[in-house]
């Protein structure tokens, strides 16, 4: 299958390993990955911070770029959540019905990585080997916007050598929330502290998740604590085959 990679602006600029791992993984499974070079950002930050007018331009650009493709995959629950649940609303809100319809159409062909693997490709065992102790944080938008449920966990359980430990209070938000982390930094940090406490309680070497943004938050907190726990995108765990330390 030909798959268009929607890398997301954050992974492109800051966490290229997550997008590279998505490519490695899909190609290993025998699919043809293309990267529409004109892509930039889905506009989620603008939407969620209230900048609807600018967001509309980003929605239009995103739709223009990805419309030609049949399957669009992103290593991010929240960016796919924005495409699926916000793009049409934003377009309609500014009276652009045509864009709203196009965005709604595109949303039906846009998938978060774990959804794509399980629902579209029908694979659970992606042939990964990762002999490390791992805990999984289900990010809020994967969990409650996309309802990916236990799909990421099913993929992780099938990884050879993995020691998967349950994260206590896993469904609690890490406190990122985009500009929330800046506007309500104190509350965000309090949420992060609890999330890190739970991560550390698992004794895991690696904390993984389907969103680079939440991992940037949790990882940034762990780094500040001088913790050895490594944040690693779900795609990176699933792409691993050589057993090297993360």
């Amino acid at each position: 299958m030909r798959v268009a990679l929607f890398a997301t602006c954050l992974a492109d600029a800051m966490f290229p390993q997550a997008a590279q791992a998505t490519v490695t993984l899909l190609e290993r499974l025998g699919h043809d990955v293309v990267f529409p070079d004109a892509q930039t950002c889905c506009g989620q930050m603008h939407i969620n911070t209230g900048y609807r007018r600018q967001a509309r331009n980003l929605v239009r650009h995103h739709t223009d770029v990805f419309e030609p493709y049949d399957a669009i995959v992103a290593p991010s629950g929240s960016c796919v959540g924005s495409v699926r649940h916000q793009h049409a609303v934003i377009a309609r809100g500014v009276g652009d019905e045509r864009l709203a319809d196009r965005a709604a159409q595109l949303a039906t062909r846009t998938w978060e990585l774990s959804e794509f693997l399980i629902d579209v490709l029908g694979v659970e065992d992606v042939g990964a080997y990762f002999p490390h102790r791992v805990t999984y944080h289900p990010t809020c938008h994967s969990l409650r916007m996309l309802r990916v449920g236990d799909k990421p966990l099913r993929l992780l359980r099938a990884v050879r050598g993995i020691d998967l430990v349950e994260l206590p209070a896993a469904d609690q938000c890490c406190g990122f929330g985009g500009t929330f982390a800046l506007k309500n930094a104190g509350t965000s940090a309090a949420m992060l502290a609890d999330k890190m406490g739970h991560v550390l309680a698992t004794d895991a070497e690696v904390v993984t998740a389907g969103d680079a943004s939440c991992l940037m938050h949790i990882g940034g907190g762990l780094s500040r604590l001088e913790s050895a726990v490594r944040p690693l995108h779900l795609a990176e765990v699933l792409a691993a085959t050589d057993g090297s330390r993360p």
């Binding site: 506009g43 609303v89 309090a190 500040r224």
Partner: protein, 489 residues
């Protein structure tokens, strides 16, 4: 912007819908209070588990939620007709209906009604509407003492405190603090009172018993009012509600206009949704319903005050109006990670938590509660538990948009607006985006040992508690171009 002509918001200077400071500042104070954090953490965890168990028992929970949502939406669509029907039914059964455009008018109506009875003391059932309009303060300035009879409300009143939760206004207090409040402020209390919750409840019973048996006037809110029959409903646990609704000669009920439901059969939905979402019980201990006046049984004088106070302004905003569907169960507060850490006082309004963050700004107008729509990480836990499926995260985002638009019309662009405009410009096309990425790589100069530990404002808010990784030497799209044959795809 949705300030519609002739659709006034709740007036300033009366009632409790606005805080003294923006949410982040108020939240920081609460976050520093370790006792408060412990009390809230314990209480919200307890109630979350109870709710989850009570809901899991019900096989048709989702169907009930869908029905509840649809009943509320249909009611709002014909709100005027339902209110007229309610008024006729209550009047036909010997009740009196009053209409109040805002808090000031409602307070005046109630004060006049109490004055007419000659009473100088009234007993009150916990009611969000009367807290919203500041009725107790209005009565006090008219020389009338309002005695709160709900246990948590009594704790708040005796402690000269403010409510911090919809269902359990004293949720921020633990048993020891409650005992100390009783010892200090409850006349005639047993000086050997312990902090055993049973002993504390018995102290409240003893304190209020004489008041119930002699009260001449009671004031209540309403959970629901059935338009077709004129039946008003109060859902409670302690029996203080029954006492107030049954024993006095005069009952005055203050009810937001959105509390009307069309038909008696609609209650079969809400009386399943509310208790399980609220206290996590299959059914709350007591629900009372009454229709006008019943000769020989209960108050022989009944007044129903229908309150607007900004509700029609909420109704006018199609994207935000479902905030009026709220049945005040408080489930969204209990699951909210922000509420759990800051408590209710930080929201500045009697409506705290996720519902408060969407309702208060709409009732007052966004400019009076501008920080509230941002008091959420948009994690979505509130929407999942809401028994009437109010999409709180989407309304939060909508209100942020309203706020940004309103500000853009009135003021010079804020630093944030400039940054957002710059980011949007950068992201509008791939060439600009690549340029932005190159600029971002300058961040590598700030990094030490693979991470960035300090940034200038506003990003210093991030680095106060978190590092940032060093921007990578190569972006994804640069890497992609290094792949054989991939450069031009």
């Amino acid at each position: 912007m949705t300030t519609f002509l002739g659709m006034p918001h709740a007036p300033r200077g009366v009632g409790q819908l606005r805080g003294d400071e923006p949410f982040p500042a108020a939240a920081d104070k609460a976050l520093a209070d370790r006792q408060l954090r412990r009390n809230l953490g314990h209480a919200t965890a307890t109630i979350r588990d109870k709710r989850a168990r009570a809901v899991a028992e019900v096989a048709d929970w989702e169907q009930l939620r869908l029905a509840g949502e649809a009943i509320k939406a249909a009611t709002m669509a014909r709100l005027g007709e339902h209110l007229i029907e309610l008024e006729a039914a209550v009047t036909a059964r010997g009740g009196h209906v009053h209409w109040a455009r805002d808090a000031v008018e409602a307070n005046r109506i109630v004060t006049d009604l109490v004055r007419a009875t000659g009473a100088t003391e009234v007993v009150k059932v916990k009611s969000m509407a009367t807290q919203e309009i500041g009725l107790n303060e209005a009565l006090e300035s008219a020389g009338i003492t309002a005695v709160e009879t709900d246990l948590a409300e009594l704790i708040v009143q005796l402690g000269h405190d403010k409510p911090s939760h919809i269902l359990v206004p004293a949720i921020h207090r633990n048993r020891t603090e409650i005992r100390d409040i009783f010892l200090r402020h409850m006349p005639g209390v047993d000086p050997d009172l312990t902090d055993d919750p049973r002993r504390l409840a018995m102290a409240a019973r003893a304190h209020l018993r004489a008041k119930f048996l002699t009260a001449r006037v009671a004031i209540s809110g309403a959970n629901f009012a059935v338009a077709e029959t004129g039946t008003v409903t109060v859902v409670e646990s302690e029996g203080n509600g029954r006492m107030c609704l049954t024993l006095p000669d005069t009952l005055i009920t203050v009810m937001g206009i959105e509390k009307v439901v069309p038909a008696w059969t609609d209650l079969e939905v809400f009386l399943q949704l509310l208790p399980r979402s609220s206290t996590g019980e299959r059914m709350n201990p007591y629900t009372s319903t009454w229709t006008g006046v019943t000769p020989g049984d209960g108050p022989q004088e009944f007044h129903l005050v229908l309150l607007d106070n900004g509700r029609t302004a909420v109704l006018a905003d199609e994207a935000g109006r479902s905030a009026l569907h709220c049945i005040r169960c408080s489930a969204c507060l209990n699951v909210c990670p922000v509420y759990e850490r800051t408590g209710g006082h930080a929201y500045g309004s009697v409506y705290p938590g996720p519902i408060g963050a969407i309702l208060s700004p709409q009732l007052t107008g966004i400019e009076d509660n501008a920080s509230l729509p941002y008091a959420s990480s948009l994690c979505g836990a509130c929407y999942d538990v809401c028994p009437v499926r109010i999409d709180i995260p989407s309304i939060l985002v909508h209100l942020r948009g309203e706020h940004v638009d309103a500000r853009a019309q009135r003021a010079l662009p804020s630093p944030e607006a400039l940054a957002m405009a710059a980011a949007a410009w950068t992201m509008a096309g791939p060439r600009r985006f690549r340029l932005g990425e190159r600029l971002l790589r300058l961040g590598r100069l700030l990094a030490r040992g693979g991470r960035i530990r300090r940034l200038p404002p506003p990003l210093s808010a991030w680095t106060a508690a978190r590092d940032l990784p060093e921007p990578p030497a190569q972006t994804f799209r640069q890497w992609w171009r290094t792949r054989p044959g991939d450069g031009r795809r």
